[in-house]
């Protein structure tokens, strides 16, 4: 039983990270119907930027709540800015172009960010210092969890609740939902669609930035191409949940994390990805637009 609980915690940790990243995919998709392939690379960029900010500004070895918080905030701001820049330069000019053109642009942007990371920080693995978070470990009847894991799950949950409230209870949030449903109608309400899209990139990138820093802090070793792995998983999570649907992304992320942990723990880690994608295909066969996705009938 404690092994099961342990796997549950393992799965929830990764699942929270997937969910944070998946939100970025799903929000952009919801409004722009675009798979932002560069989103995963923003996550990687965040880890590198965060490390540099920590080391260069505060100095390796220092640590305090203020420092950690500052690293998170500054990194999130930088990544949000890069996200906005990305939209401005690579996606906005293509808003009326054929859909696949924007997909190629997104793939190009992914290459640009990934290789910029490599040129700036080098091709080798960089290693996060181990002292950013206390190395406290709790052990409850054999179920072990670290301070970092608690932070990952806790902060992710908080951010997701916050996002949920923002999207559902605020005027801007409602405007975002309205824009996602019908851009023209939204314009007729006086909603500045460009600003809505900018907001989405800010939020999505910032959430991705938090995920990137957590990945660095928890797993320590970061590589320039790691965005691809996390990005793909998060993207799959978003599709599973029903891309464009915010609760769907959260559900998909957690589900994917748990599923992965359980498969690796109980069946075989060798075949974990296969199981993941078989699950995805099965979901899509039965629910062609994901678990919480709506089926939209085409107007003839």
């Amino acid at each position: 039983m404690d092994i099961f609980l342990q796997q549950l915690i393992n799965g929830l940790t990764v699942g929270s990270l997937y969910a944070l990243v998946a939100l970025g995919y799903t929000m952009v998709y919801g409004v722009m119907k675009l798979i932002n392939f560069a989103h995963g690379d923003l996550v990687a960029l965040s880890a590198f930027a965060g490390l540099t900010i920590y080391v260069e500004i505060f100095g390796e070895g220092t640590n305090s709540l203020f420092i950690v918080l500052s690293v998170f905030v500054i990194t999130a701001l930088i990544i949000a800015f890069v996200g906005v820049l990305l939209e401005r330069l690579a996606y906005r000019p293509l808003r009326t172009a054929p859909r696949l053109s924007a997909v190629v642009s997104a793939l190009g942007a992914s290459l640009v960010i990934q290789n910029s990371i490599m040129l700036i920080w080098g091709p080798n693995m960089k290693i996060f210092p181990s002292n950013l978070f206390p190395s406290t470990i709790w052990n409850l009847n054999g179920v072990v969890f670290t301070f970092t894991q608690v932070m990952i799950m806790g902060i992710s949950a908080l951010l997701m609740v916050g996002l949920y409230i923002f999207i559902n209870k605020t005027k801007m949030g409602t405007a975002i939902r309205a824009t996602a449903i019908d851009q023209d109608a939204a314009k007729l309400m006086g909603i500045n669609v460009n600003r809505v899209i900018m907001t989405i990139f800010i939020i999505g990138s910032a959430l991705g930035a938090v995920a990137g820093l957590f990945i660095g802090i928890n797993y320590r070793g970061i590589t320039f191409d790691m965005g691809w792995t996390y990005g793909l998983n998060a993207f799959v999570a978003a599709i599973m949940g029903g891309i464009g649907n915010i609760p769907g992304a959260m559900l998909g992320g957690i589900l994917l994390g748990l599923f992965n942990a359980m498969i690796s723990g109980y069946i075989s880690s060798e075949w974990a990805e296969t199981f993941t994608f078989v699950l995805l295909v099965v979901i899509l066969i039965f629910r062609p637009t994901g678990i919480l996705g709506e089926t939209i009938a085409e107007k003839v």
Partner: protein, 240 residues
Amino acid sequence: MSENKNLLEIKNLHVSYGAIKAIKGIDIHVKEGEVVAILGANGAGKTTTLRTISGLLRSNSGEIIFDGKDITKTPAHDIVSLGMSHSPEGRRVFGTLSTEENLLMGAYILKKYDKKVLDWIYEILPRLKERRGQLAGTLSGGEQQMLAIGRSIMSNPKLLILDEPSLGLAPVLVKVIFKAIKEISKSGVTVLLVEQNAKAALKLADRGYVLELGKISYEGNSEELLNSKTIQEAYLGKKK
């Protein structure tokens, strides 16, 4: 009333969809306080005209002047702030937002929505009040139309543009809708509407334009239009 100044003035407007010329040089004006109807068959260019006025489409040439300002190149969302509100064809309510959220979106440009306007909408369209918490997508067609109209006056517009408000509605609902439009007009809002229900529209309107193949083929007072054969011909093909 007809001595009032022009609130909206369209001069020699041309609009194309790709290679197809949809609007071929039309002139329309709407005076403050008026109700003006644009009539015409399917494909005549009525909706295109409205979408161009509210900034969703760009014209090839011509001028659109609203409340003294040239808005020919102003983006749609800024036009709303100038006091024009457009309730589009097919209602286009936000299906996964609740009725009240839809209404509040109508007041997006205001810092805070006007409680009085909301109450007034609930008063003239009481069905919306009953349905305030329900998702707009689950409303009936008539209720969605009420919502679309209600939503478009939440911003306290000077000019309300309505595209086919009676489309696909049962007569009893058409009655409710037109009554509400009358109320809105009475409160001082200028109305420009496109309608296929010519009789109902002309009964409400002061003046009307008949649009055929992207050109104005007839314009005049409502009575003139109603009594003329034009409408009968245009709609029922009673040969001249």
